[in-house]
Symmetry: D2
Subunit: 344 residues, 4 copies
């Protein structure tokens, strides 16, 4: 079907991933991960993030977030996150349901929390008073839901605040590859090296069919996690079909090629749209998402050219997402249409 800018979830799987999936369909293997494909994928992730880390494969991003979070929380505890965080705004309350705890969401202009903001929230939360949910996790998204990217030192500063108050530092890395590609660094430099404790390592948005990993960078936090995973209905029986995809993505450089390409397409898109009358770019484009305020009459006609989401009905802000398989021609055709419509 036609490519669009609705979501990186609208794209299919990269051919190399599909080939790896087919290759993994080879006879029998023990269920639930006791097989060579999963061992290899774990080894590959450890090569990226550190030999001590504890990766576990799950089905999807919400599954990764809620199992990772509930593994480290009790019902009287709270998660500090941005208001725009996927866990706060786009998971239908799954984090509350799985953890029993509270989300303390903080407003941001660009999807990025600041250390001062987090510090203030912790102070205000009433730590030690039994009347108030106790902050236990600081969760950031990399790259953010606004397509912006934390620099390593920004993450380190946030992790320092979290750790100073005894909080666990969680990262929703559904688009971590796009962030690393933008920053020109490895996955480790924005996770293990800057104090992240628990990572949702994304796969589906970067060329896999499905599958994410929960990675405990602090392996002590992984205690009991395989029970949490099963008990949360996130244990795949034929696990090799998740792990083989991760190996395809991460063993070579496919992960960064895919992400770099998607980022480049977003850069091309923003470059083309920046000067179109009636279109105002609203966020820095540092990954594979472009946010823009679009003159109301243009929104629907442009969606007819290539579908995308109206992010905020009140402000006419839209979101365009590029993907590993977005073609230059998709972008140029879309920009040309916008220019033509804007000029009418």
């Amino acid at each position: 079907m036609d490519r669009m800018f609705a979501s990186d979830n609208a794209s299919g799987a990269h051919p190399d991933v599909m080939a790896a999936l087919s290759a993994a369909n080879d006879g029998h293997a023990h269920a639930y991960g006791n097989e060579p494909w999963t061992e290899r994928a774990i080894a590959v992730i450890r090569k990226h993030l550190g030999e001590q880390v504890e990766p576990s494969f799950v089905f999807n991003g919400t599954g990764a977030n809620v199992t990772g979070l509930s593994a480290v929380m009790r019902p009287f505890e709270a998660i500090i996150c941005a208001t725009t965080a996927h866990i706060n705004s786009d998971e239908c309350g799954a984090p509350e349901r799985f953890t029993g705890g509270k989300l303390m969401d903080l407003p941001t202009a660009d999807g990025k929390l600041t250390p001062a903001q987090v510090e203030a929230a912790i102070v205000k939360a009433g730590v030690g008073s039994e009347h108030h949910s106790q902050p236990r996790v600081l969760s950031v998204t990399q790259s953010t839901e606004y397509g912006t990217t934390y620099r390593p030192q920004e993450l380190r500063a946030l992790a320092d605040v979290a750790h100073a108050h005894g909080l666990v530092m969680h990262m929703d890395g559904a688009r971590i590859s796009n962030a690393a590609a933008f920053l020109g660094c490895g996955l480790r430099e924005i996770t293990t090296d800057v104090g992240i404790d628990v990572l949702s390592l994304g796969g589906a948005k970067n060329g896999m069919l499905f599958g994410e990993a929960v990675v405990f960078l602090d392996p002590k936090l992984a205690e009991g996690f395989r029970f949490t995973r099963k008990n949360s209905a996130q244990l795949a029986s034929k696990m090799r079909f998740i792990s083989a995809q991760f190996t395809a993505l991460l063993e070579g450089d496919l992960w960064v090629r895919n992400a770099s390409h998607a980022n480049a397409m977003a850069a091309l898109l923003v470059a083309g749209m920046r000067d179109v009358p009636g279109i105002e770019i609203t966020q820095a484009v540092e990954a594979n998402e472009v946010f823009a305020r679009v003159r109301r009459e243009l929104i629907k006609p442009l969606q007819a050219v290539s579908d995308y989401y109206l992010w905020d009905e009140k402000s006419d802000e839209v979101r365009w997402v590029t993907s590993w398989d977005t073609q230059e021609s998709d972008v140029t055709r879309f920009v040309a249409a916008a220019i033509a419509m804007a000029g009418e």
Copy 2:
């Protein structure tokens, strides 16, 4: 890798399923099921089970069970099931976690509940008294965890008891195709036609890579289910990769060919093993599972020939599971090894 008798989850995907998956990897499609592959799979399921049914795709069997159950339950309610039921014994407490409710498990000799037993359990439960969890769901597994199969009239009698007391009738159909193949009937004759209200429709054990469906045969019970699915972390973003597999399985007769083959291999296995000294078949073989008590010294050597599970350490009962891809030679080699060992 070598085929074994450990589980039908140890098998891979049928080539036709894999081909359908590859075919579905065609450009972009809206995420979360708003695309033709999912529409087609829903239509296919409706053709099997009735035009009024409401199917939803989820990741795995536990996910199907817990979302289907929690959709119809409140935390003060209870599920009546066999002690051996997967939801009771093999889901690490996920049903309790997701529903908040109680499991009332009843002992059986063969994995099959009887109407009298269920009736007695409901009476004993203290319906109407606020001190006791209130029975809300009767859950059966078809075919059962012991490889036995409910006849349609047995299911109807159980559903009648359930409905007479206002309970919802749930079926864990992880191996429903094997049951239908054994009974020589369609899926509808053992679900919609006999009063099942909610069905976990299995895919992974019958030749898919992953994926199950929750089907509300009583469509009124589906109200709000798409929120329950999302909120339970069971909503696949690239859903076409589940639905395309279901279409491959269910549009033609692949579902019943796969299941019949697995059943035939189990029949061959039990025929071969029945007279081996030191091996005693413990359950009727009516699907793709064989249970047997095996002389203790034979258990490990036989596992070395082809791996399988020791079901009960105390009684030396083992489980052999055949699959859509089990070969006659797998069976004959295994039986020959058993005969040889038994004769030593």
Copy 3:
């Protein structure tokens, strides 16, 4: 012990309540409410709120809120409330734990939500989209946590918005008697008559030892509630000891005498403090709570005169709460001390 302004929970029980408690200690009575004391208390509440209402007694305010809320919610649903709402800020996440759902808290200047604000929140919530928690309850506090009071027409306007969107209207009435006393109306005029569906009817803050009631003004919502109450550990075995207190409070006019007195003491306090240099009253005083910004050096010395809470450390805002047993001399002594300190 010395009276203070820390909380109306710091006060003891009114002598008439204590006498009723002693009178109820008369031989045996069936447990769990099947006795005349509870029947009488239910009748008394119905006389206030309407013959159709369904009252149930529970232990405490948080218990009333979480059982009432969880009775009408599913885990994928959400509660809209003020940021300052007790359920949001002072119950340690119990509403999230019991309901599994999300709290959508809205900022207010005075603890009071407006219809426009609620309308906007519902629109923004993404009703109908499975990615977002679905608003199910609008919860208001009367009188509010800032000591302000909704007028009946304000409640009606909020209830109209709630009902127009299919939401249940919930009231945390921990201090509803103070609100009614301020407004010069009965309890019904600010509950049943203006569209409240579920009420937490407060007792402990108005002269009882313990005990609250959950009252379903819309009796259809009470279905199954006695199971929810038990399953939430809020069913008192010797229930007569809660219900007899409610009868003492509500059968005559003790409820409004107590509340009016507390309100009068707050009025006296604010009158005395209003012109003290270094003290700035921050909220309208419409019940039994006074909020004030106090010069930092005065806060601790004044607490030594009569204890109270520093509400907001950053802004030096304090809270003074009066009670049914606050004496004029308590107030005048406290005001005199403030004047003396401020003048130094």
Copy 4:
């Protein structure tokens, strides 16, 4: 009202408890337990159970059980208990709701678990396998729901099994005073001294109006409990009204006088009933409960003399419970009626 044999919850409060309650109604006190009454009650409990123990007051027995259990459990864990255990049979699934975990109930003849039975259950549970709920708590009731009593060495043997497998040893002590009175020992000899880790210390059934305590005999397990208590809606605002009752009960010997009296009345009752034709005592009477199979025609007429529960409709087993305020004349009148009816 007339005294009966329905439950020790049917009795009211002992006059000394009521007097203590009135005495505690003295001016203001800080809410939530920061006051001398609660400090004193904690000291009294420590004198009984050990200086290191951590007591917390809650509202009721179910509240004590579920907060104590959920404090030490994660959702993938399980509680081993007798089928008759209050947590399994009479709390409407509250333990499942609060803990998210599973109850593994074991049948007993007399309400008492044996070490061998528990050992076997742990072995069978599949410790270490992610497919199965992991045993985390062994819960016993003292005295049991059948009115029988564990000897100290029996408790020690059970605790040894629990601890050998890393389980927490929990005691539902709703009637612990009756057990101690029967055994002629202190509370410590059947709790701290024999390896109990968490205790629900009963008050209401032994002469209080309401109120129980959760006591962590292993104080490490108390970490975070005050948050769990609040988050479970079990934190009393005017806590002095619970703690003053406990002091009245436990500071002197009222606890054992009340319990001994109730036990003596049960002994008198069983002595009188033992030889009545048509009445067969079914359990050893070692506390304040008598179980008997009663000829069906006698059940209702006898209930008219003094009300009680039909325990098992199928076997015509009834339960008679005596209380701190049961009078000899209540017993003799009841026995005389039974004799008269039986002779007709």
